[in-house]
Subunit: 263 residues, 4 copies
């Protein structure tokens, strides 16, 4: 089974980049499933709307993972419970709306997608390590499992990947909006990448207008961040799992003006 995962889609610019490249990515790589992180897909980069989620599913996206920005748009509370393919971090306290484990039925079998969120410098959630144990135990025997670990620090990401090595097919980090170059398959058969990166404005700070972010660092005064405009980037990762759920391949995808798409 081949899975294409695409990192945090950032605003209208990010959605447009996705529209541009998705057909080519499908044609070239023939993925069995496409997962995107959608926590920044709304126009202002904060959260996601029902309309945008539908747009993604309509374009052939199989699952949308989320993160700390899950709840930024109030309307999420109105529709997340209706949509089992939207996957919010599982370690929010019990009772949070929405699904955090999705079983996606694909032509080549079933893919389980789990979202977890780190705590270091991020939020006082339940322990992602023990929550992962709990989910895996409840799942029982299953096909390939992809974990989106939405976390700030490299230590928490690497630690979880080793903790889950051999028990899931892949641990792919999101949240920092910068793709890392540490893709590998751990000894137990779990593919790992600390962060898949962001899809959106290329000349920006994490997708935001750079002059505004610089002003914030320089003055420490409040600013209103805005999604940047201009050139785009797309960041993703291509994962190959065998029938036993072991990872057989992991390949980063980076598309921007410095690393343009060639077919």
């Amino acid at each position: 089974m081949r899975v294409l995962m695409i990192g945090d889609i950032m605003g209208e610019v990010g959605r447009s980049a996705l529209s541009t490249y998705l057909p080519r990515l499908k044609r070239t790589h023939q993925p069995d499933a496409i997962i995107v992180n959608g926590e920044n897909a709304a126009d202002d980069g904060r959260g996601i709307t029902r309309g945008i989620a539908r747009e993604f599913f309509g374009a052939g996206i199989d699952g949308i993972t989320l993160g700390n920005h899950t709840w930024d748009k109030r309307e999420i509370f109105d529709f997340i419970d209706d949509e089992p393919r939207m996957i919010r971090p599982a370690n929010y306290p019990e009772g949070a709306p929405g699904a955090s484990v999705a079983k996606l039925s694909l032509s080549r079998g079933e893919l389980t997608v789990i979202s977890l969120m780190g705590r270091t410098f991020l939020a006082n959630l339940d322990c992602p390590f023990r929550k992962a144990d709990e989910i895996l135990k409840s799942l029982g025997k299953t096909g390939p499992i992809l974990v989106d670990f939405h976390a700030e620090t490299t230590s928490e990401k690497q630690a979880l990947s080793w903790y889950l090595d051999g028990r899931v097919s892949a641990v792919i980090g999101t949240h920092t909006h910068v793709q890392t170059a540490d893709e590998r398959i751990l000894p137990g058969g779990t593919a790992f990448l600390s962060d898949v990166g962001m899809t959106g404005p290329y000349d920006s700070v994490l997708g935001m207008e750079r002059e505004i972010v610089i002003k914030r660092f320089l003055t420490q005064l409040p600013v209103r961040f805005e999604v940047a405009e201009g050139r785009v980037q797309l960041n993703g990762v291509l994962l190959d799992f065998d029938s036993s759920g072991k990872a057989r391949g992991i390949k980063r995808i980076r598309i921007d003006d410095d690393q343009p798409w060639f077919e």
Copy 2:
């Protein structure tokens, strides 16, 4: 001018990896200067000793940048003032020992190396943005300038790179111990990489024994971190600057069992 920068050398394992690969890297890439981040070079991964600094200089390293671990070994206070090629973050409050700007005389000219440290989630230092302004003003006209920006978050790293674009030759991040895949040359001619990564144990969490780090996350009890053993990795970046100090090339170097060295 070609500069090879190698990321945080971690303990004895990291120093050994450096010894193994440095001759080949020199032979293949013929760098005019070699800079390493040495904040984790001591045996326990915390700080650096005089002996290790001498070992690095003896092996042809031209400058050693540091970071938040600069002061971990008490002996640093005895020798850092004698060694202008050891470069600690410039934005420690005035009066801190050691140099933070080094002018290295090379056969192909002079390279200025500056160390700065981020504040977000890290330490209450002086503003790295304004400190950079101050240093650049004091430097006046100069040749290529390499900035090691030791910081936790991708936002602070990207923001500083845009802030310094066109004013320095490169901004290379350190501290997260994970190489990022976002190398580029910004429009003004400044090469940028969010993090160059770590040199040390490959099967580890940031260089530390992984079972201990996992135990820490699981139990939240104190543990004694130890540098891991076993297979190694080396992470670096190769930078080309023209005579005006503009970056002309940036190329990541990653060596480990999954991406082995081929000559």
Copy 3:
């Protein structure tokens, strides 16, 4: 000289409590100057408006100190530069609007009021210790000096008080919204209180509706904090300075239904 300082006025409830008790406090204590912290005086507890500032000055308040909420209402940028009696933390980076040192001319002499803000768990400002040195040097010989130190941690507050002992008349903490019981005069003659407390809703969490705050802790989901209603509290401190600027007395004031006002 006798100074009455009243802690963070919280929303309409806090302003109303101030109106209720201020005449009695004046009558009973006959202060030469009244200073309030106004960073939460707007209706929603975030920032302050021009109208509210005028209301305070009209009621006989001599100076309004601020804090991390200084900039919450956008209109502050339109009027803070016109009002030298509004005092924002001095250790914002140079160029921030507004005054941070006020020299108030009183019938019994001049009182200098300085605002500083802590950094620990709060904001990446300039060093408050060195900024205090700089201000005190620039002031030269002067009458009594009151420092409002807006900070989160008891360690930073106590450390600054010892650092300034003998150099200012008082260091009074704000920001935690809870009055501390550690009032004292340090050996050098500086009065100190870690936090003066908050003026506003008594049955609340720091002034906010308690059910909403509890929901936030329980669910970790976003909530919209609202200023609480109902019973009120007023917290302040009464300071006596001699002609040399030394503190001669410090007395906490706490008014609420459990410690009601008796004339």
Copy 4:
């Protein structure tokens, strides 16, 4: 039932202050139970030893609560499981050694003491709110319950007190080492004080040598904190519970040279 709770005993100076004042406090107030927070009781202010615990119990202390410094002395792991009157925060992940709920049999009935720890700016523990629910459910019908809530922020402390109002006899905060002046009995009958304060050196920063702490803030360089010497302070609180477990009285105790003991 009358309970005397004494705040974080800091090093040898704190233990000595306790020895000095405990007999007088017993004689004057005739408490049925005495609880101390012992997380800083070791000579260097970090953790507690078996010998010191025995010394406390020998002096008539009925229970020792702990906090984030529980584990600082390695020997704690050797004896905490043998001592049901040592009470560490209950919301460490399951499997942590030691008791977190103590049922103390007193001449006037049974007192249950629970330790919980905050998460904000402190540690990634389990949710203290839900852990409290769980403990209270498991306890069933019981006599008075005292909760030591070891936390950094006033918001988390106030929120928990409201959450538990009517379900426990008292929520008393520790950790900031500064006594707050907000003692009250909430409408449901739960006594509350944000922080009981510290017992140890009076002329110090949280018990530590003040020049060292100031140096740390000024230089941001590593320092070795040392427990201060000289004059002492004792901070505590006196609680009266009726037979139904409701609080009937709460009175702060502060003893130092500015508020000396009078019999």
